[in-house]
């Protein structure tokens, strides 16, 4: 008698789904760790796991909110500063019974107002809290929106290649079609409108209706920051092709150069004229997991809907309501992130110092890593302009590719597994993100502690040299950018 959960009868879409970030390399690394090997996990953007300390002020506020009895205790001032106490009192007053009660399914109204205010300050245009939904991490929001859009496999979603594989996984799970558009590595991972256009034409020929376009800005894994003119072009493109733009902007606080600051898709859209500024549909995503906060474990995020019809908003609300509410502590983290301390607040100086230290260090590490990779044989690496990753291209010699084939592995998986075994550095192979045929990469994060970076890069270089020596023996055909 076949059983309910036999492998054969599982939902096919589940079986087809892949998510490399916690896939083969990560599982192998975890196994090796259990066996006692020292592993440096650079497979996921998880700052606190690599020693980044949480910011002090938000933790103080949330701790007070979690245990309101503290606020009644005369000794509370011994452990918590006045402004944290005041802020905690405020947040408790806007919950419907403390952190243990389900909130509104869209998130607490007062916090959504804080998010709206933040967006208005950032972009210069008013924002409606009714169109802002807080979610258990940005990922949940992405799934929810894609679920609303995708009806069947004839619905296509334009996704950048390389991409963060949440998108490919979600589209597969939901039974839609992923339409790739390739970012151009030699132009700093830039977006090519002609290529985009081609992708849509080809999709249409296959009978696919392209419904939405995803952009990740700053990019993951690629780290590029989109220029204003690029965003402008793609907004016009989306409007013309009748696509909803899904703007994943979770790394908007992680910018490591001055020539391309972060500009939100919403601001660019509202800067344009009618009919596009009121006609183009946009959903923007943000999170508390990245930036210099790195509070991944809280699972806090939001999406903002622009120019989405109210009936659609109601349907999306209905889906939110089935899960009752996003977790309340993370909502408070979100409020604190979008509405931080001001000059004059007691904790302001310390807070700003902590934030700047993290951001400056990330910038330094972005450089160390890029330069380090570029000094390696057969490795070229674009600079990490933003986000948290480095995505070097590894020019694998033909003999290595053959060896990989013999071992039954994709070439970059083969390389990354060898790297892991030799050095304990756990990365994600580029094939997990998508890349052009015959071009290989790996993704690592810039998150290991700064003091460990030189050793990590030295360790990588040594491994890479040996690997290239083994599979590209002559030494004269090697290439490096530096």
């Amino acid at each position: 008698m076949s059983k309910g959960l036999d492998y054969d009868t599982l939902n096919e879409n589940v079986k087809k789904t892949a998510y490399a970030v916690r896939g083969e390399l990560y599982l192998r690394a975890s196994e090796l760790q259990k066996q006692g090997k020292k592993i440096i996990f650079t497979n996921v953007g998880n700052p606190h796991a690599l020693g980044q300390k949480p910011l002090t002020f938000p933790r103080q506020v949330v701790a007070l909110c979690q245990a309101p009895f503290l606020l009644d205790d005369p000794n509370v001032g011994l452990l918590f500063p006045e402004d944290a106490i005041a802020r905690a009192k405020y947040y408790l007053s806007i919950t419907s019974g403390g952190l243990g009660a389900y909130s509104d399914s869209r998130g607490l109204p007062a916090i959504r107002q804080e998010v709206a205010d933040f967006i208005e300050r950032r972009d210069g245009y008013p924002s409606n809290p009714e169109h802002i939904f807080l979610t258990d991490g940005a990922s949940k929001g992405v799934m929810q929106i894609l679920n609303a859009i995708i009806r069947n496999k004839n619905d296509g979603i334009l996704v950048p290649v390389p991409q963060y594989p949440l998108y490919s996984a979600a589209i597969t799970l939901l039974g839609g079609s992923l339409i790739p558009y390739y970012l151009e590595e030699t132009s700093n991972w830039g977006l090519d409108i002609d290529d985009l256009h081609q992708s849509v034409v080809q999709a249409k020929m296959k009978g696919i209706t392209v419904r939405a376009m995803v952009i990740i800005n700053p990019g993951n894994p690629t780290g590029q920051c989109l220029s204003a003119s690029n965003i402008n072009q793609l907004l016009k493109f989306c409007f013309h092709e009748n696509l909803v733009l899904l703007a994943d902007e979770v790394y908007q606080q992680n910018i490591y150069q001055n020539s391309r600051p972060f500009i939100s898709a919403k601001k660019m859209l509202l800067d344009m004229h009618a009919p596009i500024n009121t006609g183009m549909q946009l959903v923007s995503f943000h999170t508390v997991s990245k930036g210099y906060w790195g509070e991944c474990g809280q699972r806090g995020g939001y999406f903002e809907m622009t120019n989405i019809p109210s009936q659609t908003v109601d349907e999306i609300y209905k889906i939110s309501s089935i899960s009752l509410s996003p977790n309340v502590p993370a909502q408070i983290f979100m409020g604190l992130m979008v509405n931080p301390l001001k000059p004059g607040d007691i904790s302001y100086q310390k807070f700003v110092t902590e934030c700047n230290a993290i951001l400056e260090s990330l910038k330094r590490r972005a450089h160390i890593m890029t330069d380090g990779f570029n000094s390696c044989r057969n490795v070229v690496c674009n600079f990490t302009e933003g986000a948290m990753y480095s995505f070097p291209q590894i020019k694998l010699p033909p003999r290595a590719i053959e060896a990989a084939k013999k071992a039954g592995k994709i070439a970059d998986v083969f390389y990354c597994l060898k790297l892991l075994e030799a050095t304990g550095i756990s990365t994600v192979p580029g094939s997990g993100f998508g890349q052009k045929e015959g071009v290989f990469h790996l993704r690592t994060t810039i998150l290991p502690p700064e003091e460990d970076m030189p050793e990590i890069m030295a360790s990588f270089k040594k491994f890479n040299n040996e690997f290239m020596q083994q599979y590209d023996g002559t030494g004269s055909s090697g290439y490096s950018r530096m």
Binding site: M1, S2, G4, L5, Y7, L10, N11, V14, K15, T17, A18, V21, G23, N46, P47, H48, A49, G51, P54, R59, Q60, V62, A63, Q66, D73, L79, G97, G100, A101, Y102, S105, D136, G137, S139, M143, R151, A169, A170, L173, N242, L243, V244, G279, C296, G297, Q298, R299, P309, Q311, T312, E315, I316, I319, S321, I322, S323, L324, S325, N327, P329
Partner: protein, 488 residues
């Protein structure tokens, strides 16, 4: 020239995913929107309605109605949110010593001693160890931490199972009627078919295996293969606690029919009657000598209910036993796409399954808090049950467990006709009228499913004890007026 305004926008009601359009979730549906509208009106003008406040009896959200959180749990979570203070001298003047030591213990088993990092996608190993130990202590049978997935509430676990099991509308999931509408919504969203089996109101919402078998056959004849059986024990909205023999029949049925047994046990700590006791389906299966080869079982628990009521933290777990390695890998993969559940909720799951024990400093205060809450819930359940039974044309089974009453209303024909005119279900018509007259929010029974031609409302037992008398008075008065107005 074709103008862009005549195009169908990329996402509109005309081209949104029809599964999204078709699903419903009454607990936060139309009645709640109505209530929120009235609440806003009251805020602008306190005289706008014949009542002062909205009394939300629609949702199992205890702390929103004043239920106090268990202090030991609160303290541990607060300390872990701000671990910098664990080593400070002053902390001892604010926190209990065993809360400090438990928080310190938990911090030790968090990788990197970090509480803000993504954890393993099944949840922090050390916390799953604690949950497994708690399951073992509860049931007397071993639990494997690798079988446990810590989730943001129990609801994500339900969604994962539906995703796994449903490939098309030919895949059926057996659900009790009445049911908690997460199940109907999730099945619709994932494109499957809900195969109803009717609980018997006459016999305290009894579950008859013969009824389930009958429904399996009917489904088969419609080309639907049943993949799983959902049992909610204690029941929601119906409140019944299954007896052991019944549970054994269910386990046997699932084994015979090759069904996954999805045991929603989130109300396991909410049992109010002397003659019933909660037994987990895991315990029952193991006591019958059934192991992993005999039955595939998914057991769901949550931190939102019980005596802890931490709805807003979103914590819970599913324990999955009796399935092969490849399937476990798929479940893991699904979990990994969302990375992990929130850490605070994970910590609370480990605390709920591993609370203070005799001899611990906080044991006495913990036990007192727990018993106060549970005995109050039992009293409120009784008072409201009696109130409903005293009303004309209303019968109400007792709430043996969970947090709800589900009285049956014999609605007069005229009210049923009036409802038809307004194009809503008769019990929704009643509920809206009740809300307009009294500010009390009940969820119409049609939101949960019921035998055709019967009408119910679901009412929580959660309003504060001192508010209950006035709720009863308002309710009785309204009901009398309603029956008079629509009498034949």
């Amino acid at each position: 020239m074709a103008s862009s305004t005549t195009k169908t926008p990329p996402v509109s009601i005309d081209n949104i995913n029809p599964k999204v359009l078709n699903c419903r979730y009454a607990v936060r549906g139309a009645i709640v929107s109505h209530a929120q509208r009235l609440q806003n009106e009251l805020q602008t003008n306190s005289d706008s309605h014949p009542f002062d406040e909205i009394l939300y009896c629609n949702i199992g959200n205890p702390q929103s109605l004043g239920q106090k959180p268990i202090s030991f749990f609160e303290q541990v979570v607060a300390l872990l949110d701000n671990p910098a203070i664990l080593k400070k001298q002053q902390t001892h003047s604010l926190f209990k010593p065993d809360a400090i030591s438990r928080a310190s213990q938990i911090l030790e088993i968090m990788p990197g001693k970090a509480t803000g990092a993504y954890s393993h996608s099944q949840g922090v190993k050390g916390l799953r160890d604690a949950v497994a130990a708690g399951i073992q202590a509860r049931d007397g049978y071993p639990a494997n931490p690798d079988d446990i997935f810590l989730t943001d509430g129990a609801s994500p676990g339900v969604h994962k199972m539906m995703q796994l099991l449903i490939g098309s509308e030919k895949d059926g999931i057996l659900c009790p009627i009445p049911q908690y509408p997460l199940y109907s919504a999730a099945i619709t969203l994932h494109g499957g078919s809900l195969v109803p089996y009717y609980l018997d109101e006459e016999t305290s919402w009894g579950l008859e295996v013969s009824e389930v078998k009958k429904q399996i056959e009917i489904a088969k004849s419609q080309g639907i293969t049943c993949r799983a059986l959902v049992v909610i024990n204690p029941g929601n909205p119906t409140g019944q606690v299954l007896c052991e023999d019944n549970q054994k029949d269910i386990v046997r049925l699932c084994k015979e029919e090759g069904l996954v047994l999805i045991a929603d046990e989130v109300y396991q700590e909410n049992v109010y009657v002397e003659d019933k006791k909660f037994n987990s389906f895991k315990k029952i299966s193991r006591s019958m000598g059934f192991g992993d080869d005999d039955i595939t079982l998914v057991s769901l628990q949550s931190i939102s209910k019980g005596y802890y009521g931490f709805c807003g933290k979103r914590g819970g777990y599913m324990e999955i036993t009796g399935f092969c390695r490849e399937v476990r890998d798929e479940i893991y993969k699904l979990s990994s796409v969302s990375l992990c559940s929130n850490i605070s909720g994970q910590i609370l799951s480990s605390l709920v399954m591993n609370p203070p024990k005799e001899g611990d400093e906080s044991y006495e205060s913990y036990t007192e808090e727990k018993n106060t809450i549970l005995s109050s819930l039992a009293r409120r359940a009784k008072i409201l049950e009696e109130a409903f039974n005293s009303m004309e044309g209303v019968t109400c089974n007792r709430a043996e467990g969970a947090m709800y009453l589900f009285p049956r209303l014999s609605l007069p024909t005229k009210s049923i006709q009036a409802a038809k005119v307004e194009n809503i279900a008769p019990d929704a018509f009643y509920a809206h009228r009740l809300l307009d007259a009294t500010g009390i929010v009940f969820v119409p029974g049609s939101g949960f499913g019921q035998v055709d031609g019967t009408w119910h409302v679901r009412c929580t037992i959660l309003p504060q004890e001192d508010k209950i008398p006035s709720i009863v008075t308002l309710l009785k008065a309204f009901h009398q007026n309603f029956m008079n107005e629509f009498s034949d």
